[in-house]
């Protein structure tokens, strides 16, 4: 466990170039940190993210963990750049390996001149450009516990990359100040142990210089957090959910955020209870949401259909992961869209709203809550694992852009002026003016049975047709209320990209790379997926010769929905698909476009 003090504290594997050369200047850097679950790879990534942010860089970070608490390979990637980014780089510049498996897994991803920093108290490596430091034994012998080895690794990285020492230290203080004073002290010591070990090595010092950036007004967040904040700002005050990767953080954030606003968050006994609890709360007049992923969504389908026909507003955030069944709980996919578009037995209206950026996660959650409340139906907030859990810099969330729209909710005076009050009153746009139950003179009887305007069970054929039209035509009447796409790139380009969710990042980066290579493209980032926005997709498709529909599933589900709605553009659509559990990277898309239609 402990290393004798006389033993060499560093191990240099392979042949390193002499340490005398000038530091390599980096403006776009990717670091991969790998080890066993519990090695603290996420902490290293977090510390680096904090450092880069403080130096004004844009940051994007993803993690790759197995569905277990400890053990098994876990890695975390972080990218920092002087330019805005929302995807990982194709290649890694620095690999930090706490075990040999991390080297084996990370090696194919490395740039030719990448560095490998490894824990030589765990294993040895003779690879060129591999620098070994016995982090675990160094820290263990000096601090009594090896668990601070991750902070020591951060210290070594700070030396290698010529980090500003003051900022480096400040990051540790910020990260551990809320823990015990002992934890802060030991982490500060571990930082110095790692830093000193690297400094003592000629090859370990100032190998690189990471350029500062000017992205100082950015926030750092993940999609799940932006969704949780959006829900609070939208006046959401009731949330029930059931833990499921990759959605759980939404519930965890709301458990912290909502109580000060007299909001209620409940962890339910299952997803059936979660969806039905929010249905009950919605009936009582609260703005409600639940969040889940594929397996939970399957269970909630019953309740979502009920909300659709009982006309009770609910927002369901679906954080997509690899399916079906348990699939790959921690991995990325976009394979629920076909299910959601046709969700449930029978027919009922629903909107599917899909944020593509962290800002979108915030603003479109507010929109989703408003849309559900106004149109009195279920709204699916369609997310994906990468968007939900990868952390990234983002422009600040702007509260002045938030609004609350209760639709046709009646004031007390408006209610008093009515001669009759019918919960399901027929109207032109299908929205029945309402007050929450508990108001004198406004009884509300709701049911999942077909019902008349009073909410009484009815099988009258004439009423059935009127009620079906009342509900289903909301999807037509709401057309101009639904979030529009965002367009990027050259408006006259003949090559188009269509995508939604986290593919925004790789598509935007691919567009920039293609433009540098003289290939102009335009990108329609769909933000309302259902009802299919033919009024935006049709003109876009008319203007291009070919449209690459980028999505993470086998069948090309979004492309199929577009084809069904706009068969005239069938021949222009090309599906670009990935369903290996990992996110697209920009070079994948560049290569596909360069291949030609």
């Amino acid at each position: 466990m402990t290393t004798p003090a006389t033993q060499s504290t560093t191990h240099v594997g392979g042949s390193l170039p002499a340490g005398s050369r000038a530091p390599k200047e980096l403006t776009d850097l990717a670091v991969l940190i790998g080890g066993q679950g519990g090695d603290g790879t996420l902490t290293v990534s977090d510390l680096l993210a904090r450092y880069f942010r403080k130096r004004g860089l844009y940051v994007y970070s993803s993690r790759n963990v197995l569905s277990r608490i400890r053990g098994g390979h876990a890695d975390s990637s972080i990218r920092a750049s002087r330019e805005p980014i929302a995807a990982m780089k194709a290649r890694v510049d620095l690999l930090v390996a706490f075990d040999n498996e991390a080297v084996q897994i990370g090696q194919p991803e490395l740039e030719p001149d990448a560095l490998i920093l490894f824990d030589s108290s765990v294993f040895q490596s003779d690879l060129p450009n591999a620098l070994g430091f016995p982090f675990a034994t160094l820290v263990g012998s000096q601090l009594g516990q090896p668990i601070y080895k991750n902070t020591a690794a951060y210290g070594a990285i700070s030396a290698l990359m010529g980090f500003d020492p003051e900022t480096t230290r400040h990051v540790i203080e910020e990260r551990f100040k809320r823990r015990s004073p002992e934890a802060l002290e030991k982490n500060l010591k571990a930082l110095e142990i790692g830093r000193k070990a690297a400094m003592e090595l000629p090859q370990g010092r100032d190998r690189w210089h990471v350029a500062d950036g000017d992205a100082h007004n950015q926030i750092l967040t993940i999609g799940n957090q932006a969704v949780a904040l959006g829900f609070v700002v939208a006046g959401g005050r009731f949330f029930a959910g059931y833990p499921i990767t990759p959605a759980t953080e939404i519930m965890e954030y709301l458990m912290r955020y909502l109580p000060p606003f007299h909001g209620v968050v409940r962890q339910a006994e299952d997803e059936l209870a979660a969806i039905n609890m929010i249905i009950g709360a919605s009936y009582a007049g609260a703005r409600v949401m639940t969040s889940t992923s594929g397996p939970g969504l399957s269970l909630m389908t019953e309740g979502i259909g009920h909300a659709g026909t009982a006309e009770l507003p609910v927002v369901v955030a679906d954080c997509q992961r690899v399916g079906p069944s348990t699939g790959e709980p921690t991995r990325h996919e976009q394979s629920d869209l076909a299910h959601l578009a046709h969700l449930g037995h029978g027919e009922f209206p629903r909107f599917i709203i899909a944020p593509g950026t962290l800002e979108d996660c915030f603003y479109l959650t507010i929109d989703a809550v408003n849309l559900a409340d106004k149109w009195r139906l279920p709204v699916i907030l369609l997310l994906d694992q990468a968007l939900c859990q990868n952390s990234s810099t983002s422009p600040p969330l702007d509260l002045s852009r938030a609004r609350i729209d209760h639709g046709k909710r009646l004031t007390e005076a408006e209610l008093a002026a009515l001669t009759t009050y019918k919960y399901y009153q027929f109207t032109e746009d299908g929205i029945s003016p309402q007050v929450p139950p508990g108001t004198v003179g406004a009884f509300a009887q709701v049911t999942g049975n077909e019902h008349d305007e009073n909410g009484h069970v009815s099988v009258n054929p004439v009423n059935r047709v009127k009620m079906m039209k009342k509900r289903m035509e909301k999807m037509v009447h709401a057309r101009d209320d639904l979030p529009l796409p965002q367009y990027y790139g050259e408006a006259s380009a003949k090559i188009g990209f269509i995508g939604y969710g986290s593919t925004w990042g790789p598509i935007r980066e691919a567009q920039e790379r293609l433009a540098l290579a003289g290939v102009q493209t335009r990108f329609l980032q769909a933000r309302t997926l259902f009802p299919v926005q033919t009024h935006t997709l049709d003109p876009f498709l008319q203007g291009v010769d070919v449209a690459y529909v980028v999505e993470h599933n086998y069948n090309g589900q979004f492309a199929q929905l577009i084809r069904e709605s706009l068969p005239q553009h069938h021949a222009k659509l090309r599906s670009v698909l990935k369903y290996d559990g990992l996110s697209f990277r920009a070079p994948d898309l560049v290569a596909r476009v360069q291949e030609g239609p």
């Binding site: 904040l229 000060p260 409940r266 006994e269 009950g280 609260a286 509300a444």
Partner: protein, 292 residues
């Protein structure tokens, strides 16, 4: 002036159905306790009993099969001012809704849940419910006993069993249960023996077998152990124990509060209000800046 709102519709139940007793007792109890009609919400399940709210001038939810408790808890937590009564059948509550049934005791929201127990699925024409005796419609599984289960769950709940053939006692029990709820004491569960006169007419049999446990020596509804034994002894004699089975002693321990008191200690008010942007902008700004 208030607008004319929903009016009751004629009942769909068979003449002589035990559920009429429940409907009458619910109505009487709400009046006796003094619940303003607009502040009451009746949540029905699926099955004959599930339409109960349609036959009253009241706020009502016709929930999904087995999900009425989850919806009722949602209503209560979103607006604790409302008096929430869930009422459904034993198939709804003890079969498809069993997960929610158990968790309702644990949650301890101050709602009243009445199960109209008739041992059968009447609406689908007489299949065995989880409470059906062995032999009923080919049933080979022993019947589920909700009262014994309820007594086994340590929580600050009110638990009782009543009989539709004795509407006076039923009303008195419901009054007590509603008062328990309205004092934010916690969850109240009442199983009412409510025979299905068409598929399992047990009126005569049950009238002969029901035994009011409060008349037995040693009756102490604050002591679960005593009541569990009393119920078992009664059942072993071929009788059906009825009466108040658990009336918790006044709260002495911390954490025994009802769910709404735990979650909203400062404000037992509706989650519907206080959500406008202007009122919260400064707090939102502070929250966002502190966490991102």
């Amino acid at each position: 002036m208030s607008p004319v709102s929903v009016k009751p519709v004629p009942s769909t139940w068979c003449p002589g159905c035990g559920d009429f007793g429940v409907l009458a007792a619910v109505k009487k109890a709400l009046v006796e306790v003094g619940v303003p009609t607009h502040e009451a919400v009746l949540v029905g399940g699926i099955g004959c009993s599930g339409g109960i709210h349609n036959f009253l001038e009241i706020n009502g939810i016709h929930a999904l099969h087995g999900r009425l408790l989850a919806q009722a808890v949602g209503v209560k937590l979103a607006n604790p001012k409302l008096t929430v009564v869930a009422a459904g059948g034993d198939g709804d509550g003890y079969a498809i809704g069993m997960g929610h049934f158990i968790h309702a005791f644990k949650k301890n929201a101050s709602i009243l849940y009445i199960v109209m127990m008739n041992e059968t699925y009447g609406l689908t024409k007489g299949q065995a419910a989880p409470t059906a005796p062995i032999g009923y419609e080919g049933n080979v599984e022993p019947p589920f006993d909700a009262i014994l289960t309820a007594l086994s769950l340590p929580a600050h709940n009110f638990i009782a069993r009543t009989f539709s053939g004795d509407p006076k006692t039923m009303t008195a029990v419901l009054v007590e249960a509603l008062r328990f709820n309205r004092a934010n004491q916690g969850y109240a569960f009442v199983e009412d023996l409510s025979p299905c006169v068409t598929y399992n007419d047990t009126f005569k049999d049950w009238r002969e077998r029901v035994l009011d446990v409060s008349k037995l020596p040693g009756y102490d509804p604050t002591d679960r152990k005593v009541m569990f034994q009393l119920c078992l002894d009664t059942m072993e004699k071929g009788k059906i124990p009825i009466g108040v089975m658990h009336r918790p002693a006044p709260k002495t321990t911390e954490g025994a509060d009802s769910l709404e008191l735990k979650l909203l200690p400062d404000r037992i008010g509706p989650a519907v209000t206080g959500i406008e942007l202007a009122d919260n902008l400064a707090a939102y700004d502070k929250l966002i800046k502190s966490v991102t």
